[in-house]
């Protein structure tokens, strides 16, 4: 058995419809890329539910999951549209404008 290659884990990504993002769907065990693709097809597109499949060797994936870098405890609201609450300012500006119109 020593001449046999060990199985590896391959992460599977699938695209459901043309133009969709590739979404991680699971993983398969296979000794090589070719078989990994066959298994991925068998498990993730038996019903024709995938437009495209990727397999990536798990050990080829680099991961970053450090919360200090990804979700630092600072207010990031200025980076999101919801971080700008303009309701009161808009009302005040409109009132000022209409008062200015009336005094003209």
């Amino acid at each position: 058995m020593s001449d046999l290659q060990a199985e590896r884990v391959w992460e599977v990504f699938r695209q459901e419809a043309e133009g969709d993002p590739m979404i991680h769907s699971g993983n398969v065990n296979a000794p090589d890329e070719e078989l990994a693709l066959h298994y991925a097809r068998e498990f993730y597109s038996r019903r024709g539910e995938s437009q495209r499949l990727w397999v990536v060797a798990r050990d080829a994936i680099a991961e970053l999951d450090d919360p200090d870098l990804l979700r630092p405890p600072f207010d990031r609201s200025h980076k999101r549209p919801g971080g700008y609450i303009i309701k009161h300012k808009l009302e005040a500006a409109k009132q000022r404008a209409s008062r200015a119109d009336a005094t003209e």
């Binding site: 046999l4 199985e7 993983n27 090589d32 919360p67 979700r71």
Partner: protein
Amino acid sequence: MRYAETRMNDTDVIQPLNGRPPYEPGDADAFYAHVGTGGKVEADDWMTDDYRAAVLKFVEMHANSELMGVLPERDWIMRAPTLRRKLALTSKIQDEVGHAQLLYRVAEDLGKPRATMLADLLAGKTKFHNVFHYPTRSWADVGIIAWLVDAAAIVSQQALRDSSYAPYARTMRKICWEESVHVMHGRDVVLTMMSGTDAQRAMVQEALDRWWGPLMQMHGPPTDPAKDKDLHWGIKAKGNEQLRQEFLSIYVPRIREIGLRIPDPALRLDETTARWVYTEPDWDELRSVVTGHGPASQSRLEFRRVNYAATQWVRDAIMGNAAAA
């Protein structure tokens, strides 16, 4: 003026982005607080040994059940009444073996190799669900199994989509999607027979009479939620009795509306508590069956052993070819 300014800029207040404090590797108390409050765990996250062992045991038994569960149905492929039924049944069996593969993969990432899990199953060291320890007697069994056994399984599998062990929860989402087809296929088989001859109706009734006991035992005896660690740690989201109640609520009306009689005279919905009352299932039978003493337990395991040996050349060829390439 200053007051108005602060009110308008109320988003300047620093909002914590991550509501749940992360747990440090090695901090068991923080880990249990995390999973106990809806937190998720990924395969490469730190987890306690007890949690890892509990998830592994749970997923391994689930995988074993998917794999052993196809054997009763397999017997009927060659006896399917039409080509379409044969295709549907073959496809269901292919799905179930696929579920086993996906689940063994989830279990493997927790540290137990697939070959060891298969060896333990074949040696009778690990369990599979009670309903797969019984023989099948007629084509009506194929309908009752696909409709009701799969439905009872779906009730618990849907709850597992919320499992704290995230790779398991994700796998359950895919599996539930496929299971819904099995239930429709089973219901269609049953309805076709119920619309047929008296002999066909009697065949379905006889099958239901045999399967009702195992169905009622399938979710297991009620457990004390305070002592059920699988529940505590969010590995499963609902208790045994709650799952059985949900199954009864949906399926008792559907069974009765097509003229089938449920073989339990005590079965009724208690209007005041909104809970189903039923004859106590035979828990001794459940315990004896899942420990390998069911009517078909040993023959099914023997069939698996023979097949495992007979297909060894396929595994060797695959691994050998890969090495040569």
